[in-house]
Symmetry: C2
Subunit: 276 residues, 2 copies
C-alpha cells in the first residue's frame, strides 16, 4: 500500500486507528477454545467487527510464534482474512546483518502479504536498508518506545542528543516518507514536538494508547502532520474490551469510540488538504 | 544447559565451535530439493557430520520464517534432531515490551527446547529481563556486531563511551554469567581487550569468522577467559563448504579444521583449570 492510498483510506474511514491482533489463549473467550484454530477464530471475529473503523491491523509475531507451527498458520490465515484494504503491519522488531534482514523482508513481504515490518535500529544501516528495498513496502523503525526500558538506552545522551533522536535523524536519511515510518510510543507525548521537527513528513506508528496509558487527544494534537501522519495502535483495549461471547461487539464499541474521537482530526486536517 | 555443563562439553570435545544452520534453498545441493522437507534434510546431514566437533548449534530464525509454516516446521524438526547434548541457540534478535518479550521467551524456551535466544537491547530492561527469568535458559544480548552497520549506532559515543560499551556494562547488571552472554563480532577483534574488562566472566557468542573475515586465532588469544568463555560461530564456512552430494563430508572437514585449531586453546585453558 502506498502513502497516497493510506492517506485516502484515513480520509474515507475518518480513522487512523490500527487494531493490534495479539491473541493470547489465556484471554481468548472460553467458547472459542474448542474451535479447530481458536487464534484465527478469535482474530476473524475481531476483524469482521472492526474492519470499517480502522485503516491498519498490526500482528505482533510473538503472540503467534509462541504457538509454534499452529501459531504461524493462524498468522497466515489471519492476514489472508484481512485482505488488501488495510495497511498490514508485522510487528516483528526484526533486524540482522544484511543478508539475514533480506530473508526477514522476504518472509513478511513476499511469503506473507504484509505492507510493513517493525525494525530495530541497533545494528545500523545494513540491518535496516534491506526492508526498504521492496516496492510499495515499508520499514517502521523503532524510535522512542512506550515501555519503561526506553529510559535505559533510547533516552540516554548520544553525541549531544538522546539516542532515539540520533536514530530518527540518521535513519530518516536511509529512506523517505513513502517507505519509512517510525515507532513513537504514546506514553512519550512530551517528546512529540521535538520529534516532529526531526521527521516532519514521516508517518508515526504510535502504540501505547489504552492499556499503557497514552492519550489519543494529546497525540493527535501534538503529532499529526499535514497528511495526518499517524497510525495509532490499540491492542488489548479493543481485543479484550469484552471477555464473553459478546467480545466482538465489545471490540467494535471500543474501536468505534476511538474512531469517533479521530474523526474531527481527520476532517480538520484532510479536508483542508483537499480544499488546498 | 548450565554454564558448568557447557564448559564440560567444551573440555570433552576440545571445541568451542558453534555451527550456524541458516539454510537457503538457493544454496542447498540440488539432489536434496526433491526431499519432502529439503531444509530439514540438509540440516540433518550437516548435524550428523559435525555433532562431535561442536558444542552448539545456532539457528537464525530468518532463514526458517522466510519459508512460512514449512520453515517453522523444519526448525522444529531440526532442534528435535539435535537433541539435548548441544547448546541450542535461537538467533532471533528479539526484544519487545515486557509482556511481549515473555511471549517470545515462551516460544523459544517452552514451545521449543532452545537454551538461548539472541536479544536486541535497544528497548531496555523490560525487553531483556523476561528472557532471563527461565531456569537454565540464557539471553545472548547484542553488544558489538560484526556488520558494517555497527558503526552507525553501536560505535557512536554515548555518555563518554561507545554505545555498545554502555550496553555491555548496563545489561551485565541485569543478569549474571550463568544466564547472560553477549554477541561480539569476530570482525571487531581490536575491541576484545576492552570488552573483557567490562564483562570478564560472561561467555561471548562470536559470529563473523569465515565468510565475514574474522580470525579464530585472534579471537581466541584476545577474548578467551579462564572458563574459555567463547562460542565461535561459523555458518556459511561450514554448511556451504561443499556444494555437491559430498556437502556433508565437506562440512565435516571444515568443522574439523576449526575444532583442531581450537583444541590447543581448550587444552591450555581448561586443563590448567582442572589442575587448579
Amino acid at each position: 500500500m502506498t502513502r497516497i492510498q493510506l492517506i485516502q483510506s484515513i480520509r474515507e474511514r475518518g480513522s487512523y486507528l490500527c487494531v493490534g491482533l495479539d491473541p493470547d489463549l489465556d484471554k481468548v473467550p472460553a467458547h472459542l477454545l474448542g474451535e479447530e484454530d481458536p487464534i484465527f477464530a478469535f482474530n476473524k471475529e475481531i476483524i469482521d467487527a472492526t474492519r470499517d473503523l480502522c485503516v491498519a491491523y498490526k500482528l505482533n509475531t510473538a503472540f503467534y510464534e509462541c504457538y509454534g507451527v499452529e501459531g504461524w498458520r493462524a498468522l497466515e490465515r489471519t492476514v489472508s482474512h484481512i485482505g488488501q484494504d488495510h495497511f498490514l503491519i508485522a510487528d516483528a522488531k526484526r533486524g540482522d546483518i544484511g543478508n539475514t534482514s533480506t530473508q526477514y523482508a522476504k518472509a513478511f513481504f513476499e511469503r506473507l502479504p504484509f505492507d510493513a515490518v517493525t525494525v530495530a535500529p541497533y545494528m545500523g544501516a545494513d540491518s535496516v536498508k534491506p526492508f526498504l528495498a521492496f516496492d510499495g513496502k515499508w520499514a517502521i523503525v523503532l524510535g522512542l518506545t512506550s515501555n519503561p526500558g526506553a529510559a535505559d538506552f533510547e533516552l540516554q545522551e548520544a553525541g549531544g542528543m538522546p539516542l532515539y533522536e540520533r536514530v530518527l535523524s540518521t535513519v530518516s536519511g536511509w529512506g523517505h516518507p513513502d517507505n519509512l515510518m517510525f515507532v513513537v510510543g504514546a506514553t512519550q507525548a512530551s517528546a512529540f514536538v521535538r520529534i516532529r521537527k526531526l521527521v516532519p513528513d514521516h508517518f508515526l506508528l504510535v502504540p501505547g494508547v489504552g492499556a499503557q496509558g497514552g492519550s489519543l487527544r494529546e497525540i493527535s494534537e501534538k503529532a499529526a502532520n499535514s497528511d495526518l501522519g499517524l497510525l495509532v495502535n490499540v491492542s488489548r483495549g479493543i481485543t479484550y474490551a469484552g471477555k464473553g461471547e459478546d467480545f466482538a461487539s465489545a471490540a467494535r464499541a471500543a474501536a468505534q469510540a476511538y474512531q469517533q474521537e479521530m474523526q474531527p482530526y481527520v476532517d480538520k486536517i484532510l479536508r483542508v488538504k483537499i480544499i488546498k
